[in-house]
């Protein structure tokens, strides 16, 4: 593979637009542009302009002596650029034929059309970013909501790498203490206090645990949070969805999943994407086909992060309560939320509703589920409460406070493996197993974390030991 040539590509989306951006990077970027660009100010010379400046002028085909377009060039110079090489960005007018003509001119003058992802690859090769950051660039480009953009941006800035660095420091300290007991058991050194080790391992575990758990959120942010709606057809499902939509003036689209039989409504609420999945309901029946439908409903409940149980004020209390109990049984409350929504509240007076839903039976159920909310989808009553409840399930604080959130499946897998190993260390400490087995598990943790960013070498472990302990008989 050649990496010292100069590459170019149209960086904005294809099609017509007001302006478009063409990017060129490589050691010949300035030479090539110089061949096709005439500065408006004749005194200026492209090669001599300072880095991080703009220059206005004309793109000209010198062969045919034709002016192509008036453009502004943004100038970057190695190594202070995205790719770490010289970069020029040509902002031209957005007509496709202009864009193509400029690219053709660049190629004619010695540039090569970039392959997909090649700019990022160069940045990676030039040490401008590590693997996890490079992966985040792809996510950032593909991000569809504000929250997913934030998460991807955070990762691209090296969030996960620096988080892992902290973790690595802790692990290094831990393994040094364990190795000390192994390689220097014959020396006159004091060995680690087991309680101290236990505390340290608990700390590391908590850290890993948080990162692993953040994947559920991270994944939800990236792909949308799955919300299963359970309720009978007359409860007003479509009105509710439309109301949510109008409330937020957000986009609703229909995704026809190739392997899914359900229709999903995707609604973007306050920068967070929710995927509403309709289900068949859970009415007990002897009907074979309907039973099959119930099974499908349960499958969907299992996959959802939030379950909306929709009922109607017209439903009798025993029916509502039974439905809540039934659905509750299928819910893993540690990882899932159950929100009970009772629609059509406009049919009863406020006092009546209050009285009806504060009986001991309902109070007991309220303890169990995340919330019971009475709404009127038709008149937009209490919809804000429902939205609040939906957003509660997303740890928005984590995103807004720039906590590291894992969104990449490869990272998730490595972190899960690391967590598994650290749990073995914890158990090992409890069972007082020998340090060499603890060390083996810790090395596995380091191995998995290393697969995300970098590696730890045995020299570091020894260095830490000699720095901190008096060795030598």
């Amino acid at each position: 593979m050649i990496t010292n040539d100069t590459i170019c590509a149209i960086s904005t989306a294809p099609g017509s637009a007001a302006i478009a951006l063409i990017r060129i990077t490589g050691s010949k970027a300035y030479d090539i542009c110089n061949n096709i660009f005439l500065p408006a100010n004749k005194k200026k010379e492209l090669q001599k302009e300072p880095a991080n400046s703009l220059i206005f002028g004309t793109i000209k085909d010198k062969e045919s002596k034709r002016d192509i377009d008036e453009v502004i060039l943004s100038l970057f110079r190695a190594p202070h650029s995205f790719t770490g090489e010289d970069i020029i960005e040509i902002a031209c007018h957005g007509a496709p034929f202009i864009q193509n003509e400029i690219v053709n001119l660049l190629i004619k003058n010695g540039a090569r059309l970039a392959q997909p992802g090649e700019f990022t690859q160069r940045a990676f090769i030039n040490g401008k970013m590590d693997l996890s950051q490079a992966e985040a660039v792809a996510d950032l480009i593909a991000s569809q909501s504000e929250s997913s953009r934030k998460v991807a941006f955070q990762q691209m800035k090296g969030g996960i790498s620096s988080e892992l660095l902290t973790l690595r420091e802790k692990l290094l300290w831990f393994i040094s203490m364990v190795e000390l007991e192994l390689d220097f058991s014959e020396e006159d050194v004091e060995f680690a206090d087991r309680n101290e080790l236990q505390n340290l391992v608990a700390e590391i575990k908590e850290h890993l645990d948080r990162l692993v758990n953040s994947f559920t959120l991270g994944n939800a942010i990236k792909h949308g949070i799955p919300v299963a709606i359970v309720g009978h057809t007359n409860a007003g499902k479509s009105t509710l969805l439309n109301t949510l939509l109008n409330e937020e003036k957000a986009i609703v689209s229909e995704i026809h999943g190739t392997t899914r039989d359900a229709i999903e409504d995707v609604i973007n609420i306050e920068g967070v994407t929710f995927r509403f999945i309709d289900t068949a309901g859970i009415r007990e029946t002897t009907d074979k086909i309907e039973n099959l439908g119930i099974k499908l409903t349960y499958d969907k409940i299992k996959k959802a992060q939030i379950v909306l149980l929709l009922a109607d004020v017209n439903d009798p209390d025993n029916k509502i309560q039974e439905a809540i109990s039934q659905v509750s049984e299928k819910i893993d409350f540690k990882n899932q939320q159950l929100i009970v929504v009772i629609n059509k509240s406009d049919l009863l007076t406020k006092e009546k509703i209050e009285k009806r839903f504060s009986t001991p039976a309902y109070k007991e159920l309220k303890e169990k589920v995340s919330a019971i909310i009475t709404v009127s989808a038709k008149y937009h009553n209490n919809i804000n409460l429902l939205i609040e409840e939906l957003l509660k399930t997303v740890n928005l604080n984590a995103i807004n406070q720039n906590e590291v959130i894992v969104t990449n499946a490869r990272h998730y897998e490595a972190l899960s493996n690391a967590l598994e190993s650290i749990i073995r260390v914890e158990e090992g400490l409890e069972n007082e197993i020998s340090g060499d087995f603890l060390a083996q598990d810790i090395r596995e943790v380091l191995h998995y974390l290393g697969s995300i960013t970098g590696q730890i070498s045995t020299d570091e472990i020894l260095g830490n030991i000699f720095k901190n302990f008096c060795i030598g008989k």
Binding site: I125, E179, D183, D436, F437, R443, Q455, D459, L462, I471
Partner: protein, 625 residues
């Protein structure tokens, strides 16, 4: 006098002796040049072989057909298996040895090999033509010619000893340094560095009050270093003694610091961090109120003791004054003072894995000259250099051990890949796959390798096959024999293990702690019947190797899996594929290191210090992976 040989070995220390025997046994015509025939395989520092990680190396040397294990067993006056309370990867054999018998036994072994000739002299120069070594020139002016030369000069290259302000040139007390050779090598492009090590005082046992010290006796067990059943000791066993320094001792030393060459700037070179002098310990860790000292007997009957923990370059009167404040040493007499020694070493990054020089053809380097410390590390290198020099002359494939195969593999890969910045000693933590490199199975790992190159004889190889046969059959029986509660519960109760409620396969109780395979023989007749067919002198060894494989199979399998996964990188060959100086995307340091070391594989490149994971990714991307 014959003046031309296949292989000349310069130096008769632990590296030189193993190298000579390996070459001799592989049919080479060998000349061993040493400056003193009476100091063959001398233990210059403490009179002990083995220890944590080092003991495993000796077992590996033995498995490959080397001699250090046999000589150690023969001269052992105390044996201990260290770290027995830890997992089997940590069990490490260690022997106190009779220094004189150790040396004498080696000489007998060398002399019994008719392929080996001797010459007592000191080598001053190399005969070099066309970037190849063709022989050596000695101090007495004689030229010897050879197809290969192995240098194992230890601490003798420009050796300089310090006792206070007294400086003595030499490689050991009363032995001359080797001058000239390192200047010559430097002029040929070798990177020559300087290191420092030290050795403590020797004490007259007749003047020591042992009642004020803690006795540490050896253990009575079947363990030893060599896998050969007839190897062992008949010597009287002796104890070591432990005592401690105190604040009075420390203040005497503090007072003398100004006259320590370590602290007045005379000694600039790097000493080992894991073996600091007493003055360094007191300065670096001022909060420690005492340091352990350890008296090791120098022989079966001598009164001389080695005082481990008190290596020093302080003026001798300060050393003695401080020591007389140590419990038990109040009236001590000393045979000699401790001293520090500085010596030249050659950057091992200029070597291939075969220990052949990258700069000069037909030149091999082994032992302390490569920046290592320790008899065991030296011997291992001598063995590998000897094997490779011989195989090369026989046009056979080079001999390299992997990191998941032997500590020797870790040792040499570390040396040639990472270089050294202090005297290199082996630690188990240097090995990524500790549990795969146990002392109990060095023979299983390496004896077949030794056999395939002709260094291990048929007899040793058959012994291994027999061991494996017995071991596997034991594992097979354990996996298949069922046992009833009433049969085994009394035994389980006796070792505080919970009772069985129903019958199970033996394998399910063997994995419990405190359950011994050997003791199960007393309750399971079928097992006992098989046990009785195993040769008595190998019984314990064989049964333990089976026990470890059963008890720790979970750990072993997991480690094996990771090792195999990473092995992938060891199979991506990159030698001569890149012109590193032109890959500007790699950091300058990484580029320089890669160009210097010329790694064979991506795996090796990833272990070079200064080469970052990002650099490795760049190489992989460039390879199109």
């Amino acid at each position: 006098m014959l003046r031309s040989y296949d292989i000349i070995i310069v130096g008769g220390g632990h590296a030189g002796c193993e190298a000579a025997m390996a070459c001799g046994n592989l049919g080479m015509n060998v000349l061993l040049i040493t400056h003193d025939m009476d100091r063959i395989a001398q233990m210059s520092c403490n009179p002990a072989i083995g220890g944590i990680a080092k003991g495993q190396i000796v077992r590996e040397i033995d498995s490959l057909g080397g001699y250090m294990g046999i000589v150690t067993d023969f001269s052992s006056i105390q044996f201990r298996m260290l770290n027995r309370s830890k997992g089997p990867a940590m069990w490490s054999p260690r022997s106190q040895c009779d220094r004189i018998l150790f040396s004498r036994k080696w000489r007998t072994i060398l002399e019994s090999n008719s392929n080996i000739s001797f010459w007592q002299d000191s080598v001053e120069d190399l005969i070099i033509r066309d970037k190849s070594v063709h022989g050596v020139i000695t101090k007495t002016g004689i030229e010897f010619f050879a197809k290969k030369v192995i240098l194992t000069t230890g601490t003798f290259l420009n050796g300089l000893m310090h006792i206070g302000s007294v400086q003595i040139e030499g490689g050991r007390i009363s032995e001359p340094a080797s001058k000239g050779l390192s200047d010559k090598l430097q002029s040929l492009g070798f990177n020559v560095g300087r290191m420092k090590t030290g050795t403590p005082v020797r004490v007259d046992g007749r003047s020591v009050d042992f009642s004020q010290m803690e006795e540490q006796a050896g253990e009575d067990s079947f363990y030893k270093f060599s896998y050969l059943p007839d190897s062992g000791t008949t010597l009287n066993q002796r104890s070591c003694y432990i005592t401690y320094t105190n604040s009075d001792v420390h203040s005497v030393i503090n007072k003398g610091l100004s006259s320590s060459p370590m602290y007045d700037g005379t000694i600039q070179s790097t000493g080992p961090r894991y073996c600091p002098s007493i003055e360094t310990k007191i300065v670096t860790f001022p909060d420690k109120s005492l340091h352990q000292l350890y008296l090791e007997p120098e022989g079966e009957s001598t009164v001389e003791y080695y005082l481990n923990g008190f290596s020093s370059s302080l003026p001798s009167e300060i050393q003695f004054e401080a020591l007389r404040l140590v419990p038990g040493l109040q009236n001590a007499k000393f045979f000699r003072a401790g001293y520090a020694i500085e010596y030249d070493y050659l950057d091992p990054q200029q070597l291939y894995h075969t220990l052949q020089s990258k700069l000069l053809n037909n030149l091999y380097l082994a032992g302390q000259i490569n920046g290592t410390t320790g008899y065991e590390e030296a011997a291992a290198q001598g063995l590998i250099a000897g094997i490779n020099a011989s195989l090369n002359l026989k046009d056979q494939k080079l001999f390299k051990l992997d990191r998941d195969e032997a500590y020797i593999g870790v040792l040499i890969d570390d040396l040639v890949t990472k270089g050294v910045d202090e005297p290199y000693r082996m630690f188990t933590s240097r090995a990524e796959y500790r549990i795969l490199l146990r002392q109990d199975d060095a023979d299983v790992r390496l004896t077949p390798r030794g056999y395939s190159i002709g260094l291990v004889n048929k007899e040793r190889y058959s012994l291994l096959q027999e061991k494996i046969r017995y071991r596997d059959e034991i594992i097979n029986l354990i996996n298949n024999i069922s046992i009833k509660p009433e049969q085994v519960n009394p035994y389980l109760k006796s070792v505080n293990s919970s009772s069985l409620k129903q019958g199970v396969k033996l394998s399910s109780i063997v994995t419990r702690p405190h359950i011994k395979l050997k003791e199960l023989g007393d309750i399971v007749e079928e097992l006992d019947r098989f046990y009785s067919t195993i040769p008595g002198e190998r019984f314990e060894e064989i049964i333990e190797s089976a026990e470890i494989l059963i008890k720790y199979s979970g750990y072993i399998t997991r480690e094996r899996k990771i090792a195999d996964k990473l092995h992938r990188l060891e199979n991506i060959y990159i030698k001569d594929k890149f012109d590193y100086s032109n890959i500007h995307t790699i950091s300058t340091e990484g580029r320089q290191k890669l160009a210097l070391i010329k790694p064979e594989t991506i795996g090796q490149a990833s272990r070079i210090s200064g080469v970052s994971p990002a650099d490795i990714n760049v190489l992989l991307v460039l390879l199109g992976r």
